[in-house]
């Protein structure tokens, strides 16, 4: 029998994501929550472009979700996997949903239960790869030895994030520029409308590619 994880790690690279939802469809095939996908995949802002954000649980070393849970329902195991809420305990308060810095836990209102990504524990604990990272066609989600990533990827992994004053360390790696040791988070630059009238086409980073800007076209056909 192959052991759990077996030297493999999870690497996330949203810049490769093509928004195909293979991960979402495959997540519903995971044995710990079959039929209910846990991974998040959303357009960052469809009006301005096709950028998408795949988000799995980052499995924080000191998980905010577990710390804010009033019912001790979220447990981290010896592998560092932060599990879905314990079914008898979760009181469906949504503390974890609102506090997780990555926006991961899902409140299943119909079940009065928080559920989240557990890195396909049914698979990874017996040496298989997680569903999402096996099927992901773009490599935005990759699960395997870090040597592969170091050798073949232009971007390099970090597992530290700086949210303002808060440093968060995680089990899951994020691909970023090789110069960085931690991924710096910025929020203020991404609040473009604050103090102005709300413009749906502004709600993204400046420079999201605009087909009109790259094209020559007749302004009044």
């Amino acid at each position: 029998m192959i052991g759990a994880f077996d030297g493999n790690e999870f690497f996330l690279d949203p810049s490769r994501c093509i928004g195909c939802q293979a991960c979402v469809q495959a997540c519903a095939e995971c044995g710990t929550h079959r039929g209910v996908p846990m991974i998040h995949l959303e357009y960052v802002h469809r009006a301005t472009g096709v950028q998408t954000a795949p988000v799995v649980c980052m499995h924080c070393e000191d998980p905010t979700c577990a710390r804010v849970c009033p019912a001790d329902a979220i447990k981290q195991d010896d592998h560092g996997i932060v599990h879905s809420a314990a079914k008898p305990r979760c009181v469906a308060c949504s503390n974890c949903v609102i506090a997780c810095p990555f926006g991961v836990p899902k409140m299943k209102v119909e079940l009065d239960l928080m559920m989240k990504c557990d890195m396909c524990y049914d698979r990874t604990s017996v040496g298989k790869k997680p569903m999402c990272a096996t099927v992901c066609p773009s490599g935005a989600l990759y699960y395997g030895p870090s040597e592969y990533i170091e050798k073949f990827r232009r971007e390099q992994p970090v597992n530290e994030f700086q949210f303002g004053r808060q440093t968060v360390r995680t089990k899951v790696n994020m691909m970023t520029s090789p110069e960085l040791k931690a991924l710096p988070f910025e929020v203020l630059d991404f609040l473009p409308w604050e103090g102005k009238d709300f413009d749906p086409f502004e709600l993204s980073r400046a420079g999201a590619p605009d087909a009109a800007a790259a094209a020559v076209f007749d302004k009044t056909p």
């Binding site: 810049s15 490769r16 994501c17 093509i18 928004g19 195909c20 939802q21 293979a22 979402v24 469809q25 495959a26 519903a28 095939e29 079959r34 039929g35 995949l41 959303e42 357009y43 802002h45 469809r46 009006a47 301005t48 472009g49 096709v50 950028q51 998408t52 790869k129 569903m131 096996t134 099927v135 992901c136 066609p137 773009s138 490599g139 073949f152 990827r153 232009r154 749906p200 086409f201 709600l203 999201a208 590619p209 605009d210 087909a211 009109a212 790259a214 094209a215 020559v216 076209f217 007749d218 009044t220 056909p221």
Partner: protein, 738 residues
Amino acid sequence: MATLTLPEEKYIELYGPTPAHTPAGGWNNGEPDKLVKTHCCFCGVQCGIQLKVKDNKVIGFEPWEEFPVNQGKLCPKGVKRYMQNDHPDRLLSPLIRNESGFREAGWYEALHKTANAIKDIQAKYGKDAFAFLGGASMTNEKAYLNGKFARIALGTANIDYNGRLCMVSAGAANRMAFGVDRAANPWSDIPLAKVIILTGTNLAECFPILTDYVWRARDAGAKIIVIDPRITPIGRTADLFLPVRPGRDSALANGILHVMIERGWTDEKFIAEHTTDFDKVRQLVKRYTPEVTEKITGIPAKSIIAAAEMWGTAETSMLLHARGIEHHTKGTENVLTYINLVLATGRIGRPGCGYGTITGQGNGQGGREHGQRCNQLPGGRDISKPEHREFIADFWGIPEPELPKVGLTACEIIDAIERGEIKGLLSISFNPLVSIPDSERTRKALEKLEFFACIDFFLSETARYADVVLAGSLQEEDEGTVTTGEGRCVRLRNSVSPPENARVDWKIICELAELLGKEKFFKYKNAGEIFTELTAASKGGPIDYSGMTYEKIEQNMGIFWPCPAPDHPGTPRLFEGGKFHHPDGRAKFHAYEYRPPAEDVDAEFPLFFTSGRVVSQYLSGTQTRRIGGLVDQYPEPLCEMHPLLAERLGIKDRDIVRVVTRRGEITVPAQVVKSIRPDTVFIPYHWPGKKAANLVTNRALDPISKIPEFKVCACRVEKVSDAPKLAAAGQPIPLKSK
């Protein structure tokens, strides 16, 4: 007269599409009896997948990581493909049309009725009055069998297939330029390229698995150039994005070549030694200066120069294209002008250097090789070439004069039905009502048929018009081979048997042949025997499979043709050493002046209309509109338009809009996005009836390949204020788009 006998809702209630949301046996359906290593059926990549089978039902899947092409990767269609099995809409026995729609019938009755109708029509109107339409999602075995059945059992010239709507222009161009029709390189050459042009391919949504190949190239330092009127997911982070005005592709390729020649970025040695006719091209592109090209294509001159520089100076390169440049009345010309870019650099036939068209259909490659096209015989042979006719007539054991001549292509067959020249039709895995442009005319044609029989596993929108529906087999219910977009012939294994009274497709065809008195030509005990015959028939032809066996294919995880001998390993990369397949061994340049599309914008219809796919749906949706998870992902067609255009028309996101062309109109919710040219609107084509994009597209054909012009026509867009009912259709798609 085959008009519908029931209202549409009734057909939907009885035969679907019903989006199935749970697998056979429910989500908790236990441990499988076996895992079957086979392939996804939903595009030309043919990803390897293991189907979980229990009690003769497919209950789930497990990635197949050892298969080298996708290494376990799948797109959403592949993930949920298993849900087409054990589906509530599955046809479980033959159907015969009556006043109340259809009644279930036995095989004896259904087959006899079909055979008798064929005989009657052919006796009355001649052999060619009965046509056969095949599909490019079926196995090589079936493609071969369809061709043989039409030529020997039906004796009709009019056999064609839905690949005619797919990439025949690329196929024609490939033959004209290289003397052979196949992607020149295996996908594994993509990551080795230092620059990649992706033109007219929404690669990330239509061939998602290839994304990783492209990104791997980028990891190794490659530059990516994407040419498309829309910023698709693969285009979003491209190094250079050229938002071409629809229908201007050949001008762009000529413009890029102009700059390359001017700056000396061509490989004159290669051109001199391995190609012909470059002088004509050199002459032609002189007038495509960046400024002229900018005017035609709507791409800034500086971007054109930048593309020429990236492409012209690269060490290694790949050029890949798909329907975006192929679905045009000058589809063949578009492809040939792009091939000029490849030949001019001499970067082909080496690792990391080459070219390919990415086939869209499950067996888009194999389906066009074994003789189910009106102008083709097995082994890629030409039906008009005497020596090819002689070989096949001999091989089949019929006199050469009995072998029909060139027939009509798919769209022409529909046209001929409309004109009343073709009276009867047998089709398999083809849904022309959704997939052929100008759907209203297709519907009228279907209504005119005196007899129409379909072989299918679900009742497609087209099959509603049939007199007899023969319940056939899903991909996993049969076995055989398919040939992927890179020319790799792979093995499909039988996972389950057809349910209840449904039958395996090839057996149905053989039984019909028997009733038509030709049983001695169709004595097969299994699909393997058809394959053996197919490979023998291909021996010595342009497309040679004669060295392949099932065992060899399985052992090698697929074999690339040509494979002319049992000890031949197959040919992953074509044209090595600059050897092309024309008799002179050279590749041929083609000089084509840009010409506008069949219908260009004008004052009345000022906007370009274009159509294409979404990642969650496959072709006419007969299968994928029945899989709940895929339906939820993108439930209804939306009309993409740029905010600048929307503002001018007073349209806001999710407003209901009407898109009108000279052929018809379609009413759908708007999706206002900056990712499309402001002079173009886009609607995906997978839906039937009032939601069919093909209500408005143009059935003008490419004179060379007879591919219709799906990708450009002229339209007008207006806001619909009186559509409260349609507002429901505007439900936001699950991907949060706030």
